[in-house]
């Protein structure tokens, strides 16, 4: 009996009786992670440059709820994204879909790189061909003449 009281007292000393490990805000943390991953790809349409995952707005909360419900109902990521596009248009996606109007957006960086590298390679080949350029005798003479000329005009 005494031992039990002591044990209880020790327990009470350590932590307050009502303290507990906090419950996750979401009922299912794993599901929530999945919801946030999808929400991170969606634009909060009423905010300025925020994702649905980041925003505190009512619309963002509502969209997160919808994503959660659809995931619970067993829909795939693709289905949920398609649903959002159908409802809000391409604007809702932070990663624009690959189609005719976004062709340049997705291929542009690659094209730029190829153009840059081709130009670079041509330039490098030229540079290699051009041996260390030495001044020809004629050029030296011309330079000396010019310098002399300038020196004279300066003195006069």
């Amino acid at each position: 009996m005494a031992k039990t009281i002591l044990l209880a007292a020790l327990l009470l000393l350590g932590v307050s009786a009502w303290a507990k490990v906090a419950a996750p805000a979401a009922a299912d943390p794993l599901l929530e992670q999945h919801v946030m991953a999808i929400a991170g790809e969606l634009r909060c349409l009423v905010c300025q440059n925020q994702t649905v995952a980041e925003s505190d707005s009512d619309l963002a909360k509502d969209l997160r709820d919808q994503v959660r419900e659809k995931l619970k109902a067993g829909q795939s990521d693709r289905e949920i994204i398609d649903y959002m596009i159908a409802r809000y248009g391409d604007f809702v996606l932070w990663r624009p879909p690959f189609k005719s109007t976004t062709l340049l957006l997705w291929l542009g960086p690659g094209l730029l790189l190829i153009v840059g590298l081709v130009a670079l390679f041509r330039r490098l080949s030229n540079a290699r061909d051009a041996a260390e350029t030495e001044l020809s005798a004629a050029e030296r003479a011309r330079a000396a003449r010019l310098l002399e000329l300038r020196g004279e005009t300066e003195e006069t």
Partner: protein, 675 residues
């Protein structure tokens, strides 16, 4: 009366700027030394009057003069003094005034530190900067007057945007503008060189320290902006690929390319065409950034001022400056004979050029992603959003090779590097980076390809830096013989490594939990136990806050106390989240207070962010490296030693000594031969 004086000072500054833009340029063209000499005093006069205007606007803020519309919109008597002063650049008009003030400071710096420049070059460079200043002053006077009056005066100001009431925001714009605007010096020197036909190694040498210092400031500015977003926006993110962030990131990328290409032009005389173009384009991107942010074309978390009418003015100005300088380039560049030594496919030159191609492509990509939605909308092809998922996908593959080259470039020889020799010198660096890529992620808990790749790149840069320091010390007699420029290079590259390591580790190993908490509740994350000790009401100078207290322990030992809060500013409707952060060398603890549930329970979000501080620490190292390199003594001594050549070519001063003849001849051969 006082605000009118401010406006008058701006008007005077505008007239001086016009004079500075016209007379010295005309003087340099016609060879009129008296006109050229106007440049220096004009630059000083402009600084004086712009500073007066800036001081008077500050005075209006400090004295709560709400008859000034700009003050009424951005301040409030309850705003603490420090933020009232920072409020000067908290809105559109004041930001422009800060822009012009910083431009005047750079001009004054040019007059002081460029005594070695030939008069003609100085006159042209200051003239170009004067024209830019005139454009911005006109923009202020005609569309964005900070001294506009408001009658009757409101009894109370509207207060500064709460997001801006923060020490990070006080420093962010001045740093950013120091960088942005600083590139105008490199731009002005490039235009002056094109106009005078002196596009040679001396030009590159003059441009280098200016460019590097501006770049260092821009690095700091971007880092401060990212840090501010990290703790002020309350999501724990540190880079959003927001259009406004992109606007200052693009000049940074190009500035980085410019620094490297200037190095080649100065040392080896090659790439002149490219380098001068890059100097023009880099500053053009600074202007483009100003346009994007200030015109209100983009609306984002960072842009707080928008007025479409102003956009037209900046766009026209942008067209004139960029169009004009590119036209000058197109006219003069074909006459630049590519001189300088040849170099092989594998050499320091070719590696630096490849780095330039990668950085330019990266800039193009950011530009594409930033403007694409605007372009589609304007063309009526629909609305799209381009955000981090896009940028992360396309940006990383472009930057990774550039990071790899950081390791090779400084080791490779100029002119001709041999692959076997490089391989021998780099083999243990390669081994070290592969070993850390395999081992380090395991030590942190789990291995993933992304973490391994990032760690490998960071370790590669550090290991190769060690190799280059060792080789360098072997060749110099003593440590003091190693020039500062070299230490600057090493420091900046190690900074890049720290940045890469920070990004990799925080992306790979950050953890967060969102929980419901009653007083006494605990939550465990990453070995830390957070105990919630309730929420108390606190009154700030111009807000009311609800502040939570979280006691953090690790293995039973107290670590820190975090006090995240929600502030409700008297002037605004929506509450603001104030995160609480405990910063450490290896991790940040980040806590935010969410909503209060009906039961009185609070939603609390705690995050552990490993090595996130390395991101800004790395940027700081890069900036310090830049400043160290710019302070190298060769820039001070060199200016004098290249002077005879400059004068011989410019046709002034004593005739060149025979020894200088060959040098001058080289200049002739390589310089612009336009008659």
């Amino acid at each position: 009366m006082v605000p009118e004086l401010g406006q008058f000072a701006l008007a005077l500054a505008f007239v001086i700027a016009l004079t500075q833009g016209i007379l010295p340029l005309a003087g340099a063209t016609t060879g009129n030394p008296a006109w050229m000499r106007v440049a220096r005093p004009a630059a000083h006069g402009q600084l004086v009057f712009v500073a007066i205007a800036f001081g008077l606007l500050t005075y209006a803020f400090v004295s709560n003069d709400f008859t000034v519309e700009y003050v009424a919109n951005n301040s409030n008597p309850r705003l603490p003094l420090g933020y009232r002063i920072a409020g000067v650049w908290g809105g559109h008009e004041g930001s422009l005034l800060l822009w012009v003030l910083i431009l005047s400071l750079w001009m004054a710096a040019v007059t002081i530190f460029s005594r070695g420049l030939p008069d003609e070059m100085l006159a042209r460079a200051l003239g170009v900067m004067g024209l830019i200043a005139a454009g911005f002053l006109a923009f202020m006077l005609f569309t964005s007057n900070p001294f506009g009056r408001l009658f009757p005066a409101p009894p109370d100001g509207r207060d500064l945007n709460p997001l801006l009431q923060d020490p990070g925001m006080v420093l962010h714009p001045p740093m950013l503008y120091m960088g942005y605007v600083g590139f105008s010096v490199a731009f002005a020197l490039a235009i002056a060189a094109l106009a005078s036909g002196r596009l040679d190694a001396a030009w590159a040498r003059w441009s280098r320290p200016w460019t590097t210092v501006a770049w260092a400031f821009l690095t700091l500015g971007n880092a401060l902006g990212s840090w501010w977003a990290y703790y002020e926006l309350g999501w724990g993110g540190w880079w959003f690929w927001d259009p406004v962030e992109n606007s200052s990131f693009m000049p940074w990328l190009l500035g980085t390319a410019l620094i490297h290409s200037l190095a080649v032009t100065e040392k080896r005389g090659t790439f002149r065409n490219w380098t001068v173009l890059l100097a023009i384009v880099t500053f053009s991107f600074s202007l483009l950034g100003t346009f994007l942010v200030r015109s209100g074309v983009l609306t984002s978390v960072h842009a707080f001022a928008s007025d479409p009418a102003r956009g037209v003015f900046i766009l026209a100005f942008l067209a004139v400056v960029v169009g004009g300088s590119l036209a000058l380039y197109a006219w003069r560049a074909p006459n630049i004979r590519q001189r300088g030594g040849g170099f092989s496919l594998l050499s320091r030159e070719s590696l630096l050029l490849t780095n330039n191609v990668l950085l330019a492509t990266a800039t193009g990509t950011v530009l594409l992603g930033t403007l694409y939605p605007l372009a589609l909308e304007v063309l009526g092809l629909g609305k799209v959003s381009v955000g981090s998922p896009y940028f992360d996908t396309v940006f990383v593959p472009l930057v990774a090779p550039a990071l790899f080259l950081i390791g090779v470039g400084p080791i490779a020889r100029w002119k001709n590097a041999s692959l076997p020799e490089l391989a021998v010198r780099l083999r243990w660096a390669l081994a070290v980076s592969l070993a850390s890529a395999l081992a380090l992620p395991f030590a942190l808990g789990r291995w993933s390809p992304a973490a391994g790749f990032g760690v490998a790149l960071a370790a590669w840069i550090v290991a190769t830096s060690v190799v280059s320091v060792r080789d360098r010390l072997r060749h110099e007699k003593s440590v003091t013989d190693v020039p500062r420029a070299f230490w600057g290079l090493v420091l900046a590259h190690v900074g890049v490594a720290a940045l890469v390591a920070g990004i990799t580790l925080v992306k790979g190993y950050e953890a967060q939990k969102e929980v419901r908490m009653d007083p006494g509740d605990t939550v465990e994350l990453g070995g830390y136990v957070f105990r919630f000790d309730g929420v108390a009401g606190v009154a700030g100078p111009n807000y009311m806050a609800e502040r939570a207290t979280l006691l953090v322990t690790r293995n039973g030992k107290a670590v820190t106390t975090l006090q995240p809060s929600k502030r409700r500013y008297l002037s605004r409707e929506k509450p603001m989240t104030e995160a609480a952060i405990d910063s450490g060398f290896t991790r940040d603890l980040y806590a935010t207070l969410g909503d209060r549930l009906e039961s009185g329970t609070w939603i609390v979000r705690v995050q552990v962010k490993p090595f996130v501080g390395w991101i800004w620490g790395g940027a700081l190292l890069m900036a310090l490296g830049g400043l160290l390199a710019a302070s190298d003594r060769r820039y001070r001594i060199a200016v004098r030693s290249i002077r005879p050549e400059a004068q011989a070519e410019g046709g002034r001063g004593p005739a060149a000594a025979p020894a200088g003849a060959a040098q001058a001849a080289v200049s002739l051969k390589g310089g612009i031969e336009h008659g």
